[in-house]
């Protein structure tokens, strides 16, 4: 178990949170124009990097708000957290 810093509530135990997968998967601007392949990719295909990953978490047992974390999938370490709409902190490319 590790502490995760909620951008609103501060550090809390991991079990207060739920995982929401890759961040910034946007609904298509022109859904009616998408091919089957593009739809398949929008619905099912996500990045799976070995290294820093921008992903969504929700503080479900606390303020119940979603936020974005940059987490290193090799170590599970949270490199940063930020509120949705805020600029993503810079993660050095060298660590990717």
């Amino acid at each position: 178990m590790q502490l995760i810093t909620c951008p609103w509530c501060g550090p809390r135990e991991e079990l207060e949170f739920h995982y929401g997968g890759q961040a910034d998967v946007r609904y298509p601007d022109n859904p009616q124009e998408l091919t089957d392949e593009q739809w398949g990719h929008f619905v099912f295909f996500r990045d799976n990097p070995k290294g820093p990953f921008a992903e969504r978490w929700v503080h479900s047992a606390g303020c119940r708000r979603w936020f974005i974390a940059i987490r290193d999938t090799r170590t599970h370490q949270f490199l940063s957290v930020h509120r949705i709409g805020e600029d993503q902190p810079q993660i050095p490319e060298a660590t990717r």
Binding site: G21, G40, F45, R46, R71, T73, R74
Partner: protein
Amino acid sequence: MSSTTATAADPPGADLPEHPDFLWHNPEPKRSYDVVIIGGGGHGLATAHYLVRNHGITNVAVLEKGWLAGGNMARNTTLIRSNYLWDASAAIYEHALKLWEGLEDDLGYPILFSQRGVLNLAHTEQDVRDSVRRVEANKLNGIDAEYLGPDDVAKICPILNVSDDIRYPVLGATYQPRAGIAKHDYVAWGFARRADAGGVDLIQDCEVLDFVTEGSVEDGAAEGTARVTGIRTTRGDIACGQVALCAAGHTSTLLDRLGVRTPLQSHPLQALVSELLEPVHPTIVMSNAVHVYVSQAHKGELVMGAGVDSYNGYGQRGAFHIIERQMAAAVELFPIFARAHLLRSWAGIVDVTPDASPIVGRTPYANVLVNSGWGTGGFKVTPGLGWCLAHTIATGELHPLIEPFALDRFVTGALVDEHGAAGVAH
């Protein structure tokens, strides 16, 4: 059948075979092979074995970044069963189970395959309905299966708590008597020895860094025209005729190098073992609803697993609260375990797909086959997958048993979807 009784003179594990004095050679990689298999785990080794055994193809290299079978193969909980709902899944897992039943003779090597049966518990009315449906589907597919009420469940596994005053009472269970366990290391070593003896180069400490391609899919080459001509490794470049990706949780990182996107997500899947105990647990018990599964290894450890950790990860460890929930479930179902000490826990990195079925078959690169997405169920299919993948490599035709698991199902909508049917809830 296993021997689950032991006396003081014959303690658990006394019948374990001695370690062999020779396993396999450790060759330098040649500069070129007809077939390169990436990943020296169970699937890669089984594929190499059947390439030799069934097709006489021996100019084969298996590339392993660490040591042979040191990834998920060394970390899995060794359950073997074929009681899947979906026809396509039942077919390939049952093919595998039939191979398991003759594997010791085929490999000439002990694998301690013990057909002690599996109980999949039902804890709710919906569980009961799903279980009965799965049993009937299994029977239609020629797979041994029956549905048992709590009293019959208790006869098969007397240490299981079937009283009705626990939080999730056992309402019944599916039972597959031919299911079992095998000693995972011996399975890998058996395949490796036979492949090695057949002329396959098993190359350890050889990480794949990148691919040399002829026409890149990323640069717009038409599907079927691009090829991988060579593999860049930490031990030099290796030219290849055909390539099979068998790297489990790391398959998508390899495919990223080729610009091929898949819906794979890598997650830690934790397991753990207790101290060595007298034989107390005669079968395998799995429970979706409270989510734990338990068997007892030949040596006496209780081997337990849970669901995957929710987040993506490659760290080969997971969160402690998952273990805590799993232990709570185990102790409720098996009060006798309450004072057992845990020896160790670990995680493998499993590649999970949106529909919990594997992705096996062709890629946009004409000579590259992918074998991935087995998620939490890769061990039990090891010989079956190796058989089918070797057939596909040797003949150029997809083996019918792997045909339903193509990558394009996520675009065509032909989902295989084994989530509700796999007998596990992850």
